[in-house]
Protein backbone atom coordinates (compact mmCIF):
# COMPACT_ATOMS: atom_id res chain seq x y z
CA UNK A 1 0.00 0.00 0.00
CA UNK A 2 1.51 3.32 -1.01
CA UNK A 3 1.13 6.24 1.36
CA UNK A 4 0.16 9.75 0.30
CA UNK A 5 2.69 12.60 0.48
CA UNK A 6 1.04 14.27 3.51
CA UNK A 7 1.21 11.09 5.58
CA UNK A 8 4.85 10.66 4.66
CA UNK A 9 5.62 14.29 5.51
CA UNK A 10 4.05 14.01 8.98
CA UNK A 11 5.67 10.62 9.50
CA UNK A 12 9.13 11.82 8.54
CA UNK A 13 8.84 15.24 10.16
CA UNK A 14 6.34 14.78 12.96
CA UNK A 15 5.18 18.07 14.52
CA UNK A 16 5.07 18.67 18.26
CA UNK A 17 6.53 15.39 19.50
CA UNK A 18 6.94 15.23 23.24
CA UNK A 19 5.37 15.69 26.60
CA UNK A 20 4.90 18.50 29.13
CA UNK A 21 6.58 16.40 31.82
CA UNK A 22 6.72 12.88 33.22
CA UNK A 23 3.48 10.97 33.72
CA UNK A 24 3.64 11.93 37.42
CA UNK A 25 4.23 15.64 36.71
CA UNK A 26 1.45 15.76 34.12
CA UNK A 27 -1.04 14.39 36.61
CA UNK A 28 -0.28 17.31 38.95
CA UNK A 29 -0.47 20.07 36.32
CA UNK A 30 -3.91 21.66 36.10
CA UNK A 31 -3.05 23.53 32.89
CA UNK A 32 -2.38 20.31 31.01
CA UNK A 33 -4.88 17.71 29.80
CA UNK A 34 -3.80 14.22 28.65
CA UNK A 35 -5.53 11.72 26.44
CA UNK A 36 -4.10 8.20 26.25
CA UNK A 37 -6.03 5.98 23.83
CA UNK A 38 -5.54 2.66 22.07
CA UNK A 39 -3.76 -0.44 23.35
CA UNK A 40 -0.39 -2.08 22.65
CA UNK A 41 -2.11 -5.37 21.76
CA UNK A 42 -4.05 -3.55 19.05
CA UNK A 43 -0.87 -2.04 17.64
CA UNK A 44 -1.83 1.60 18.29
CA UNK A 45 -1.34 3.82 21.34
CA UNK A 46 -1.68 7.61 21.14
CA UNK A 47 -0.85 10.05 23.87
CA UNK A 48 -2.04 13.59 23.23
CA UNK A 49 -1.40 16.49 25.62
CA UNK A 50 -2.84 20.00 25.52
CA UNK A 51 -1.58 22.99 27.46
CA UNK A 52 -4.30 25.56 28.07
CA UNK A 53 -3.79 29.27 28.63
CA UNK A 54 -6.03 29.59 31.64
CA UNK A 55 -6.57 33.32 31.08
CA UNK A 56 -7.93 32.99 27.53
CA UNK A 57 -9.15 29.41 27.70
CA UNK A 58 -7.35 28.68 24.46
CA UNK A 59 -5.09 25.73 23.70
CA UNK A 60 -1.64 27.26 23.79
CA UNK A 61 0.40 24.21 22.92
CA UNK A 62 -0.09 20.53 22.13
CA UNK A 63 2.24 17.55 22.08
CA UNK A 64 1.95 13.90 21.14
CA UNK A 65 3.65 10.55 21.31
CA UNK A 66 2.47 7.61 19.27
CA UNK A 67 3.12 3.87 19.05
CA UNK A 68 1.55 2.82 15.79
CA UNK A 69 1.78 2.75 12.04
CA UNK A 70 2.71 5.71 9.84
CA UNK A 71 -0.94 6.78 9.52
CA UNK A 72 -1.41 6.79 13.29
CA UNK A 73 1.70 8.90 13.72
CA UNK A 74 0.58 11.29 10.98
CA UNK A 75 -2.98 11.56 12.41
CA UNK A 76 -1.75 12.47 15.88
CA UNK A 77 0.87 14.86 14.52
CA UNK A 78 -1.81 16.64 12.48
CA UNK A 79 -4.12 16.77 15.53
CA UNK A 80 -1.51 18.70 17.53
CA UNK A 81 -1.12 21.23 14.71
CA UNK A 82 -4.85 21.79 14.48
CA UNK A 83 -5.39 22.09 18.24
CA UNK A 84 -2.97 24.96 18.77
CA UNK A 85 -4.78 28.29 19.19
CA UNK A 86 -8.23 26.67 19.37
CA UNK A 87 -10.70 26.95 22.25
CA UNK A 88 -11.76 23.71 23.92
CA UNK A 89 -15.07 23.76 22.08
CA UNK A 90 -13.32 24.30 18.76
CA UNK A 91 -11.01 21.40 19.63
CA UNK A 92 -14.00 19.18 20.34
CA UNK A 93 -15.40 20.05 16.94
CA UNK A 94 -12.52 18.37 15.08
CA UNK A 95 -13.88 15.32 13.31
CA UNK A 96 -12.01 12.21 12.26
CA UNK A 97 -13.36 12.63 8.74
CA UNK A 98 -11.47 15.93 8.44
CA UNK A 99 -8.24 14.10 9.35
CA UNK A 100 -9.01 11.40 6.78
CA UNK A 101 -9.56 14.06 4.14
CA UNK A 102 -6.49 16.15 4.97
CA UNK A 103 -4.11 13.15 4.98
CA UNK A 104 -5.90 11.12 2.29
CA UNK A 105 -5.92 8.12 4.60
CA UNK A 106 -6.68 4.83 2.85
CA UNK A 107 -9.84 2.99 4.04
CA UNK A 108 -7.90 0.43 6.11
CA UNK A 109 -6.36 3.31 8.08
CA UNK A 110 -9.52 5.19 9.01
CA UNK A 111 -9.29 3.79 12.54
CA UNK A 112 -6.13 5.89 13.01
CA UNK A 113 -8.16 9.08 12.53
CA UNK A 114 -10.83 7.78 14.90
CA UNK A 115 -8.13 7.18 17.47
CA UNK A 116 -6.82 10.74 17.01
CA UNK A 117 -10.31 12.18 17.52
CA UNK A 118 -10.70 10.04 20.64
CA UNK A 119 -7.34 11.31 21.92
CA UNK A 120 -8.41 14.94 21.43
CA UNK A 121 -11.68 14.35 23.29
CA UNK A 122 -9.91 12.47 26.08
CA UNK A 123 -7.29 15.21 26.53
CA UNK A 124 -9.94 17.95 26.72
CA UNK A 125 -12.06 15.88 29.11
CA UNK A 126 -8.99 15.36 31.32
CA UNK A 127 -8.31 19.11 31.40
CA UNK A 128 -11.94 19.87 32.27
CA UNK A 129 -12.04 17.27 35.03
CA UNK A 130 -8.84 18.65 36.57
CA UNK A 131 -10.33 22.14 36.57
CA UNK A 132 -13.79 21.29 37.80
CA UNK A 133 -15.46 22.07 34.47
CA UNK A 134 -18.38 19.74 33.78
CA UNK A 135 -17.66 17.26 31.01
CA UNK A 136 -20.57 16.90 28.61
CA UNK A 137 -21.52 13.44 27.50
CA UNK A 138 -21.01 14.89 24.10
CA UNK A 139 -17.27 15.22 24.86
CA UNK A 140 -17.01 11.47 25.25
CA UNK A 141 -18.90 10.66 22.14
CA UNK A 142 -16.80 8.32 20.08
CA UNK A 143 -16.83 8.23 16.36
CA UNK A 144 -16.93 4.45 16.36
CA UNK A 145 -18.06 2.66 13.31
Amino acid sequence: MAYGPKIIDHYENPRNVGSFGTQQEIKQRTDVGVGLVGAPECGDVMQLQIKVDQATGKIQDAKFKCFGCGSAIASSSLATEWLKGKTLDEGLAIKNTEIVQELSLPPVKIHCSVLAEDAIKAAIADYKTKNGIPVDDHDHEHAHH
Binding site: Y11, Q23, G38, E41, G43, F67, C69, A72
Partner: protein, 413 residues
Amino acid sequence: MALTLPIYLDHAATTPCDPRVVEAMLPYFTKVYGNPGSRNHRFGWEAEDGVDRARQQVAALLGANEKEIVFTSGATESNNLAIKGAAEMYEKASAGSGQCRGHIITCKIEHKAVLDPCKRLQKEGFEVTYLDPPRDGVITRAMVEAVLRPDTILVSLMWANNEIGTVSEIREIGALCHEREIVFHTDATQWAGKMPTNVERDNIDLLSMSGHKIYGPKGVGALYVRRRKPRVRLVAQVDGGGQERGFRSGTLNVTGIVGLGKACEIAMAEMDHEGERLLRLRKRLEQGIAGGLDHVQINGHADKRLPHITNISFGFVEGESLMMACKDIAMSSGSACTSASLEPSYVLKGLGIGDDLAHSSLRFSLGRWTTEAEVDYTVSKVVESVNRLRGLSPLYDMFKEGIDLTKIEWAHH
Protein backbone atom coordinates in the same frame (compact mmCIF):
# COMPACT_ATOMS: atom_id res chain seq x y z
CA MET B 1 30.96 -3.26 -3.57
CA ALA B 2 28.58 -0.41 -4.27
CA LEU B 3 25.26 -0.68 -2.54
CA THR B 4 22.13 -0.58 -4.71
CA LEU B 5 18.81 0.39 -3.16
CA PRO B 6 16.24 -0.92 -2.50
CA ILE B 7 17.52 -4.03 -0.75
CA TYR B 8 15.47 -7.22 -0.98
CA LEU B 9 15.35 -9.14 2.32
CA ASP B 10 12.08 -10.97 1.77
CA HIS B 11 13.32 -14.21 0.20
CA ALA B 12 10.94 -16.27 2.32
CA ALA B 13 8.09 -14.62 0.39
CA THR B 14 9.65 -15.29 -2.99
CA THR B 15 13.03 -15.28 -4.70
CA PRO B 16 14.20 -13.83 -7.99
CA CYS B 17 14.62 -16.36 -10.75
CA ASP B 18 18.25 -17.39 -11.18
CA PRO B 19 19.42 -16.32 -14.69
CA ARG B 20 20.68 -19.87 -15.24
CA VAL B 21 17.12 -21.07 -14.63
CA VAL B 22 15.68 -18.56 -17.09
CA GLU B 23 18.24 -19.64 -19.67
CA ALA B 24 17.25 -23.28 -19.27
CA MET B 25 13.58 -22.39 -19.67
CA LEU B 26 13.81 -20.14 -22.72
CA PRO B 27 13.98 -22.76 -25.49
CA TYR B 28 10.82 -24.38 -24.10
CA PHE B 29 8.74 -21.29 -24.86
CA THR B 30 9.49 -20.97 -28.55
CA LYS B 31 11.39 -24.02 -29.84
CA VAL B 32 10.49 -27.02 -27.70
CA TYR B 33 6.86 -26.11 -27.34
CA GLY B 34 5.31 -29.50 -27.78
CA ASN B 35 2.83 -31.08 -25.42
CA PRO B 36 4.62 -33.88 -23.54
CA GLY B 37 1.36 -35.80 -23.83
CA SER B 38 1.74 -35.93 -27.61
CA ARG B 39 3.25 -39.39 -27.95
CA ASN B 40 3.51 -39.60 -31.70
CA HIS B 41 5.75 -36.78 -32.87
CA ARG B 42 9.10 -35.23 -32.19
CA PHE B 43 7.68 -32.04 -30.63
CA GLY B 44 5.99 -34.08 -27.93
CA TRP B 45 9.00 -36.33 -27.34
CA GLU B 46 11.38 -33.40 -26.91
CA ALA B 47 9.09 -31.68 -24.44
CA GLU B 48 8.78 -34.97 -22.58
CA ASP B 49 12.57 -35.27 -22.46
CA GLY B 50 12.72 -31.85 -20.80
CA VAL B 51 10.11 -32.88 -18.23
CA ASP B 52 11.89 -36.19 -17.58
CA ARG B 53 15.18 -34.44 -16.94
CA ALA B 54 13.47 -32.02 -14.55
CA ARG B 55 11.83 -34.92 -12.75
CA GLN B 56 15.26 -36.47 -12.20
CA GLN B 57 16.66 -33.15 -10.95
CA VAL B 58 13.83 -32.72 -8.43
CA ALA B 59 14.08 -36.36 -7.33
CA ALA B 60 17.85 -36.03 -6.83
CA LEU B 61 17.38 -33.01 -4.57
CA LEU B 62 14.96 -34.98 -2.39
CA GLY B 63 16.73 -38.36 -2.46
CA ALA B 64 13.70 -39.81 -4.21
CA ASN B 65 12.98 -41.82 -7.34
CA GLU B 66 11.79 -39.77 -10.32
CA LYS B 67 8.59 -41.85 -10.45
CA GLU B 68 7.71 -40.38 -7.07
CA ILE B 69 7.56 -36.77 -8.26
CA VAL B 70 4.23 -35.17 -9.19
CA PHE B 71 4.41 -31.71 -10.73
CA THR B 72 1.87 -29.16 -9.51
CA SER B 73 1.25 -25.43 -9.71
CA GLY B 74 3.09 -24.82 -6.44
CA ALA B 75 3.26 -25.75 -2.79
CA THR B 76 -0.34 -24.70 -2.09
CA GLU B 77 -1.62 -27.22 -4.61
CA SER B 78 0.86 -29.84 -3.38
CA ASN B 79 -0.39 -29.38 0.18
CA ASN B 80 -4.02 -29.60 -0.93
CA LEU B 81 -3.39 -32.76 -2.93
CA ALA B 82 -1.38 -34.38 -0.14
CA ILE B 83 -3.77 -33.59 2.70
CA LYS B 84 -7.15 -33.96 1.03
CA GLY B 85 -5.93 -36.75 -1.22
CA ALA B 86 -4.53 -38.82 1.67
CA ALA B 87 -7.49 -38.13 3.97
CA GLU B 88 -9.97 -39.27 1.33
CA MET B 89 -7.90 -42.35 0.45
CA TYR B 90 -7.27 -43.53 4.01
CA GLU B 91 -10.61 -42.56 5.59
CA LYS B 92 -11.89 -44.90 8.30
CA ALA B 93 -15.54 -44.24 7.52
CA SER B 94 -17.23 -42.89 4.44
CA ALA B 95 -18.66 -39.42 4.02
CA GLY B 96 -22.15 -39.05 5.38
CA SER B 97 -21.85 -42.10 7.65
CA GLY B 98 -22.03 -39.84 10.70
CA GLN B 99 -18.87 -41.41 12.10
CA CYS B 100 -15.47 -39.77 12.39
CA ARG B 101 -13.82 -40.36 9.02
CA GLY B 102 -10.35 -40.24 10.56
CA HIS B 103 -8.05 -38.18 12.75
CA ILE B 104 -5.43 -35.76 11.41
CA ILE B 105 -2.64 -34.04 13.33
CA THR B 106 -1.16 -30.69 12.34
CA CYS B 107 -0.01 -27.54 14.12
CA LYS B 108 -1.34 -24.02 14.74
CA ILE B 109 1.64 -22.32 13.09
CA GLU B 110 1.42 -24.15 9.77
CA HIS B 111 0.94 -22.16 6.58
CA LYS B 112 -2.66 -21.39 5.60
CA ALA B 113 -2.25 -23.78 2.67
CA VAL B 114 -2.15 -26.58 5.25
CA LEU B 115 -4.54 -25.14 7.84
CA ASP B 116 -7.34 -24.37 5.41
CA PRO B 117 -7.44 -27.82 3.76
CA CYS B 118 -7.53 -29.27 7.29
CA LYS B 119 -10.42 -26.98 8.21
CA ARG B 120 -12.31 -28.09 5.13
CA LEU B 121 -11.74 -31.74 6.04
CA GLN B 122 -13.11 -31.01 9.53
CA LYS B 123 -16.33 -29.78 7.92
CA GLU B 124 -16.44 -32.97 5.91
CA GLY B 125 -16.30 -35.30 8.89
CA PHE B 126 -12.62 -35.65 9.80
CA GLU B 127 -11.28 -34.65 13.20
CA VAL B 128 -8.17 -32.50 13.37
CA THR B 129 -5.81 -31.85 16.28
CA TYR B 130 -3.94 -28.54 15.96
CA LEU B 131 -0.84 -28.81 18.12
CA ASP B 132 0.04 -25.79 20.25
CA PRO B 133 3.66 -25.03 19.42
CA PRO B 134 6.08 -24.42 22.26
CA ARG B 135 7.56 -20.95 22.63
CA ASP B 136 10.66 -21.97 20.62
CA GLY B 137 8.50 -23.14 17.70
CA VAL B 138 10.05 -26.63 17.43
CA ILE B 139 7.56 -29.51 17.17
CA THR B 140 9.00 -32.72 18.63
CA ARG B 141 8.21 -36.41 18.27
CA ALA B 142 6.93 -36.48 21.87
CA MET B 143 4.38 -33.73 21.14
CA VAL B 144 2.98 -35.71 18.22
CA GLU B 145 3.07 -39.00 20.13
CA ALA B 146 1.02 -37.44 22.93
CA VAL B 147 -1.94 -36.76 20.65
CA LEU B 148 -1.89 -39.90 18.45
CA ARG B 149 -5.13 -41.85 18.37
CA PRO B 150 -5.95 -45.32 17.07
CA ASP B 151 -7.83 -43.66 14.21
CA THR B 152 -5.05 -41.16 13.28
CA ILE B 153 -4.57 -41.44 9.51
CA LEU B 154 -2.38 -38.47 8.66
CA VAL B 155 0.21 -36.19 10.25
CA SER B 156 1.07 -32.97 8.39
CA LEU B 157 3.81 -30.75 9.79
CA MET B 158 5.99 -28.18 8.11
CA TRP B 159 9.72 -28.87 8.04
CA ALA B 160 10.72 -25.25 8.64
CA ASN B 161 8.43 -22.39 9.58
CA ASN B 162 8.06 -19.60 7.03
CA GLU B 163 7.81 -16.75 9.52
CA ILE B 164 10.41 -17.64 12.14
CA GLY B 165 12.56 -20.20 10.33
CA THR B 166 12.50 -22.79 13.11
CA VAL B 167 12.97 -26.45 12.18
CA SER B 168 10.90 -29.27 13.65
CA GLU B 169 11.98 -32.87 14.42
CA ILE B 170 10.82 -34.14 11.05
CA ARG B 171 12.96 -37.29 10.83
CA GLU B 172 11.91 -38.41 14.32
CA ILE B 173 8.24 -37.64 13.69
CA GLY B 174 8.47 -39.51 10.38
CA ALA B 175 9.88 -42.56 12.18
CA LEU B 176 7.02 -42.43 14.67
CA CYS B 177 4.47 -42.28 11.86
CA HIS B 178 6.05 -45.25 10.10
CA GLU B 179 6.02 -47.29 13.32
CA ARG B 180 2.29 -46.58 13.65
CA GLU B 181 1.52 -46.89 9.93
CA ILE B 182 0.30 -43.32 9.64
CA VAL B 183 0.86 -41.28 6.48
CA PHE B 184 3.34 -38.46 7.08
CA HIS B 185 3.24 -35.28 5.02
CA THR B 186 5.65 -32.36 5.37
CA ASP B 187 5.34 -28.93 3.83
CA ALA B 188 9.01 -28.38 2.95
CA THR B 189 8.48 -25.14 1.04
CA GLN B 190 11.07 -23.22 3.05
CA TRP B 191 13.36 -26.20 3.69
CA ALA B 192 13.81 -28.08 0.41
CA GLY B 193 16.58 -26.67 -1.75
CA LYS B 194 18.10 -24.92 1.26
CA MET B 195 18.93 -27.85 3.54
CA PRO B 196 19.91 -31.49 2.89
CA THR B 197 16.82 -33.59 2.26
CA ASN B 198 16.48 -37.35 1.88
CA VAL B 199 12.99 -38.76 1.98
CA GLU B 200 14.32 -42.25 2.85
CA ARG B 201 16.55 -41.19 5.73
CA ASP B 202 13.99 -38.61 6.88
CA ASN B 203 11.02 -41.02 6.84
CA ILE B 204 8.74 -38.89 4.67
CA ASP B 205 5.73 -40.13 2.71
CA LEU B 206 4.56 -36.89 1.13
CA LEU B 207 6.60 -33.70 0.66
CA SER B 208 5.48 -30.37 -0.80
CA MET B 209 7.83 -27.92 -2.42
CA SER B 210 7.70 -24.82 -4.55
CA GLY B 211 9.77 -23.44 -7.43
CA HIS B 212 9.73 -19.75 -6.61
CA LYS B 213 11.22 -20.14 -3.12
CA ILE B 214 14.38 -21.66 -4.59
CA TYR B 215 15.19 -19.22 -7.41
CA GLY B 216 12.90 -20.98 -9.86
CA PRO B 217 9.76 -19.61 -11.52
CA LYS B 218 6.41 -18.97 -9.84
CA GLY B 219 3.46 -21.21 -10.68
CA VAL B 220 5.25 -24.53 -10.43
CA GLY B 221 5.92 -26.92 -7.59
CA ALA B 222 6.10 -30.59 -6.81
CA LEU B 223 4.70 -33.21 -4.50
CA TYR B 224 6.82 -36.21 -3.58
CA VAL B 225 4.62 -39.28 -3.19
CA ARG B 226 6.28 -42.41 -1.70
CA ARG B 227 6.00 -45.45 -3.95
CA ARG B 228 7.33 -48.23 -1.74
CA LYS B 229 7.60 -49.16 1.93
CA PRO B 230 4.84 -48.12 2.09
CA ARG B 231 3.23 -47.23 -1.22
CA VAL B 232 1.19 -44.10 -0.59
CA ARG B 233 -1.94 -43.56 -2.59
CA LEU B 234 -3.95 -40.39 -3.01
CA VAL B 235 -7.35 -39.44 -4.32
CA ALA B 236 -6.72 -36.98 -7.15
CA GLN B 237 -8.11 -33.49 -6.63
CA VAL B 238 -7.92 -32.37 -10.25
CA ASP B 239 -9.53 -34.78 -12.73
CA GLY B 240 -9.06 -34.78 -16.47
CA GLY B 241 -6.52 -36.16 -18.91
CA GLY B 242 -4.79 -38.37 -16.37
CA GLN B 243 -1.36 -36.71 -16.53
CA GLU B 244 1.15 -37.31 -13.72
CA ARG B 245 0.00 -40.91 -13.41
CA GLY B 246 -3.50 -39.68 -12.64
CA PHE B 247 -2.44 -37.75 -9.54
CA ARG B 248 -2.78 -34.40 -11.27
CA SER B 249 -4.50 -33.91 -14.58
CA GLY B 250 -3.76 -30.96 -16.81
CA THR B 251 -1.25 -30.25 -19.58
CA LEU B 252 2.16 -30.01 -18.00
CA ASN B 253 3.66 -26.56 -17.42
CA VAL B 254 6.77 -27.57 -19.35
CA THR B 255 8.66 -24.28 -19.09
CA GLY B 256 7.94 -24.03 -15.38
CA ILE B 257 8.87 -27.66 -14.78
CA VAL B 258 12.16 -27.27 -16.65
CA GLY B 259 12.86 -24.18 -14.54
CA LEU B 260 12.02 -25.99 -11.30
CA GLY B 261 14.36 -28.83 -12.30
CA LYS B 262 17.23 -26.46 -13.06
CA ALA B 263 16.59 -24.57 -9.79
CA CYS B 264 16.83 -27.87 -7.89
CA GLU B 265 20.07 -28.80 -9.63
CA ILE B 266 21.66 -25.45 -8.76
CA ALA B 267 20.34 -25.52 -5.19
CA MET B 268 21.82 -28.97 -4.66
CA ALA B 269 25.22 -28.08 -6.07
CA GLU B 270 25.53 -24.87 -4.05
CA MET B 271 23.72 -25.88 -0.86
CA ASP B 272 26.64 -26.47 1.51
CA HIS B 273 28.58 -23.38 0.60
CA GLU B 274 25.48 -21.19 0.36
CA GLY B 275 24.10 -22.42 3.69
CA GLU B 276 27.29 -21.45 5.47
CA ARG B 277 27.40 -18.05 3.78
CA LEU B 278 23.77 -17.29 4.66
CA LEU B 279 24.25 -18.38 8.26
CA ARG B 280 27.22 -16.05 8.57
CA LEU B 281 25.19 -13.17 7.13
CA ARG B 282 22.17 -13.89 9.32
CA LYS B 283 24.33 -13.92 12.44
CA ARG B 284 25.92 -10.65 11.36
CA LEU B 285 22.44 -9.16 11.01
CA GLU B 286 21.18 -10.52 14.33
CA GLN B 287 24.30 -9.56 16.24
CA GLY B 288 24.39 -6.10 14.68
CA ILE B 289 20.78 -5.39 15.63
CA ALA B 290 20.95 -6.98 19.09
CA GLY B 291 24.24 -5.21 19.75
CA GLY B 292 22.89 -1.80 18.71
CA LEU B 293 19.56 -1.86 20.58
CA ASP B 294 18.12 -2.92 23.90
CA HIS B 295 14.75 -4.69 24.21
CA VAL B 296 14.99 -6.74 21.05
CA GLN B 297 14.21 -10.44 20.94
CA ILE B 298 14.91 -13.01 18.27
CA ASN B 299 11.87 -15.26 17.99
CA GLY B 300 12.05 -19.04 17.87
CA HIS B 301 14.70 -21.57 18.79
CA ALA B 302 18.26 -20.19 18.81
CA ASP B 303 19.89 -23.02 16.83
CA LYS B 304 17.20 -25.24 15.31
CA ARG B 305 16.49 -22.87 12.47
CA LEU B 306 17.10 -22.16 8.81
CA PRO B 307 20.23 -20.17 7.99
CA HIS B 308 18.47 -17.40 6.09
CA ILE B 309 15.36 -16.40 8.10
CA THR B 310 15.21 -14.36 11.28
CA ASN B 311 12.25 -12.81 13.04
CA ILE B 312 12.94 -10.03 15.49
CA SER B 313 10.67 -8.22 17.94
CA PHE B 314 11.50 -4.60 18.72
CA GLY B 315 9.95 -3.55 22.02
CA PHE B 316 7.90 -0.30 22.06
CA VAL B 317 7.97 0.11 18.28
CA GLU B 318 5.17 -0.86 15.90
CA GLY B 319 6.28 -3.04 12.99
CA GLU B 320 4.51 -1.28 10.15
CA SER B 321 5.96 2.11 11.10
CA LEU B 322 9.39 0.50 11.28
CA MET B 323 8.98 -0.87 7.77
CA MET B 324 7.95 2.60 6.62
CA ALA B 325 11.11 4.02 8.19
CA CYS B 326 13.19 1.42 6.37
CA LYS B 327 11.46 1.90 3.05
CA ASP B 328 14.65 1.07 1.14
CA ILE B 329 14.61 -2.41 2.62
CA ALA B 330 12.00 -4.97 1.62
CA MET B 331 11.04 -7.14 4.56
CA SER B 332 7.80 -8.35 6.05
CA SER B 333 5.69 -8.06 9.18
CA GLY B 334 4.22 -11.50 8.67
CA SER B 335 3.90 -13.84 5.76
CA ALA B 336 3.11 -12.17 2.45
CA CYS B 337 -0.16 -14.07 2.41
CA THR B 338 -1.44 -12.43 5.59
CA SER B 339 0.29 -9.05 5.82
CA ALA B 340 -2.58 -7.32 4.02
CA SER B 341 -4.62 -7.66 7.20
CA LEU B 342 -4.00 -5.54 10.26
CA GLU B 343 -4.04 -8.54 12.56
CA PRO B 344 -0.68 -9.43 14.06
CA SER B 345 0.89 -12.66 12.84
CA TYR B 346 -1.02 -15.76 13.99
CA VAL B 347 2.30 -17.60 13.99
CA LEU B 348 3.84 -15.25 16.56
CA LYS B 349 0.60 -15.25 18.56
CA GLY B 350 0.64 -19.05 18.39
CA LEU B 351 4.08 -19.08 19.99
CA GLY B 352 2.64 -17.08 22.87
CA ILE B 353 4.83 -14.02 22.49
CA GLY B 354 1.87 -11.67 23.10
CA ASP B 355 -0.11 -9.46 20.76
CA ASP B 356 1.90 -6.38 21.74
CA LEU B 357 5.25 -7.88 20.69
CA ALA B 358 3.64 -9.57 17.69
CA HIS B 359 2.79 -6.06 16.44
CA SER B 360 6.44 -5.13 16.92
CA SER B 361 8.06 -7.89 14.88
CA LEU B 362 9.71 -8.08 11.49
CA ARG B 363 10.93 -10.97 9.37
CA PHE B 364 14.20 -10.63 7.49
CA SER B 365 15.00 -13.37 4.98
CA LEU B 366 18.30 -13.39 3.13
CA GLY B 367 19.06 -14.88 -0.27
CA ARG B 368 21.52 -15.94 -2.91
CA TRP B 369 22.59 -12.41 -3.83
CA THR B 370 22.45 -10.78 -0.38
CA THR B 371 25.76 -9.12 0.40
CA GLU B 372 27.57 -8.19 3.59
CA ALA B 373 27.21 -4.52 2.62
CA GLU B 374 23.42 -4.94 2.38
CA VAL B 375 23.32 -6.56 5.80
CA ASP B 376 25.42 -3.76 7.30
CA TYR B 377 23.21 -1.09 5.75
CA THR B 378 20.15 -2.88 7.12
CA VAL B 379 21.61 -3.05 10.61
CA SER B 380 22.40 0.66 10.72
CA LYS B 381 19.07 1.67 9.18
CA VAL B 382 17.05 -0.52 11.55
CA VAL B 383 18.96 0.63 14.64
CA GLU B 384 18.59 4.28 13.65
CA SER B 385 14.88 3.89 12.86
CA VAL B 386 14.04 1.99 16.04
CA ASN B 387 15.76 4.69 18.08
CA ARG B 388 13.85 7.41 16.24
CA LEU B 389 10.50 5.64 16.67
CA ARG B 390 11.19 4.97 20.34
CA GLY B 391 11.61 8.72 20.65
CA LEU B 392 7.99 8.95 19.45
CA SER B 393 6.73 6.05 21.54
CA PRO B 394 4.64 6.78 24.64
CA LEU B 395 5.21 3.16 25.68
CA TYR B 396 8.98 3.63 25.79
CA ASP B 397 8.56 6.76 27.97
CA MET B 398 6.31 4.89 30.37
CA PHE B 399 8.69 1.96 30.48
CA LYS B 400 11.61 4.27 31.30
CA GLU B 401 9.56 5.91 34.05
CA GLY B 402 9.09 2.50 35.61
CA ILE B 403 5.39 2.16 34.73
CA ASP B 404 4.24 -1.44 34.27
CA LEU B 405 2.54 -1.41 30.86
CA THR B 406 0.60 -4.56 31.68
CA LYS B 407 -1.08 -2.79 34.63
CA ILE B 408 -2.56 0.03 32.55
CA GLU B 409 -6.23 -0.22 31.67
CA TRP B 410 -6.04 0.24 27.93
CA ALA B 411 -9.10 1.31 26.03
CA HIS B 412 -9.51 -1.62 23.64
CA HIS B 413 -11.10 -0.93 20.32
